[in-house]
């Protein structure tokens, strides 16, 4: 697989990743705009000045974190939407995938939820763009389903945004529920999310017959 990248570049990528990981860890309890450059390098164990070898500032690091956090989502959504089961099974599967994603990458989820409306413009825009691409994929998948016959593109997109937003909100709620340590809280969130998606699904099926402009 290519020519092993060289010792020099390998080391560089290693500390670069260490910076990203350290930042992500520290961001569990702060927001990006209050996270200091020195704070991150201290955790990694390198001099503060070495930070500049990898990122111009914390904003740039934040944008990379966004890609790292939201990149894996696309694979996930494809897997869900490709299935051809009934609506009920797809809902259960969707919520289950969100649930395990939250459990596997809690720090990434928290970061996105926090910085989506956070204080760093570049990061906000990166998240918005990524979620937009996400919604576009969902819309494309929804459109190809039989239930969407006769729907105009705007309405499909509207529904897709509704879904995406619900998933993001659910993920954040799930995270808070687990952090608060309440025992059945997480299951409660999951049950509510399932029913909400079910209600939306019902509304979708009756959209054409009841919706008039």
């Amino acid at each position: 697989m290519s020519h092993s990248l060289g010792v020099r570049q390998a080391q560089k990528q290693k500390t670069r990743q260490a910076l990203l990981d350290a930042a992500l860890g520290l961001l569990e309890e702060q927001s990006l705009s209050s996270l200091g450059l020195r704070e991150v390098t201290r955790v990694v164990g390198i001099a503060p000045t070495a930070f500049y070898r990898h990122f111009r500032d914390m904003g740039e690091l934040g944008v990379v974190l966004v890609e790292e956090a939201l990149g894996s989502l696309h694979v996930m959504v494809r897997a869900i939407l490709a299935e051809q089961d009934g609506a009920e099974e797809r809902i259960d599967r969707t919520v289950a995938v969100v649930e395990q994603h939250v459990r596997r990458y809690p720090l990434h989820i928290r970061f996105v939820a926090r910085e989506r409306h956070g204080g760093v413009r570049a990061v906000r825009q990166a998240i918005a763009g990524e979620l937009d691409r996400f919604a576009e994929e969902v819309a494309a998948a929804l459109k190809s389903q039989p239930v969407s016959e006769g729907w105009c593109d705007d309405d499909v997109r509207m529904l897709a945004e509704l879904y995406v937003d619900r998933l993001v909100t659910t993920a954040a709620a799930l995270l808070d529920a687990e952090a608060d340590g309440a025992e059945g809280a997480a299951e409660q969130v999951v049950r509510v999310a399932r029913r909400q998606l079910r209600l939306i699904s019902i509304g979708r099926r009756h959209w054409r017959e009841e919706h008039q402009e």
Copy 2:
């Protein structure tokens, strides 16, 4: 009007409010956890140490801002839900009220959207608590509507949370749309929000006949 409150206390409340206003202004482009005490007092024009006469730290100020921002919402939602028009009219009215609320108190909305998942625990909890009370009010109002006959309390609450979350998300999206300066962006957000609420409303009407547990 009571007994005019005294010159002393009046002055104190005045600078206290000035601190809150200055902070809210500065928070348009930062998050609370990166907002400094000195920064706020500098804008108000008082000595940094005077801050402690009003708040223990920025977190405490943030909690007060939450009450200030979300307190007026309750009046708003009561006004909407008390109306007895048809579903369609209620949706239009709801979105219109959200729209004018965003235009009147943009800084408050931005603050809530930003700090809802922000880096200060006390503020997050304050927002969560307030939104919870909000959802409870909506649930109570929904329950008394004829459409909700035969609904169990859990389902009503589930629907209420769906509505509340949609309103908050819409408000934030509306804010971003206006900030970005794109001409028709705000109207687009409003139209999408209306259709989403419509779809939810349709799902609600068919919930009992299609939902089985």
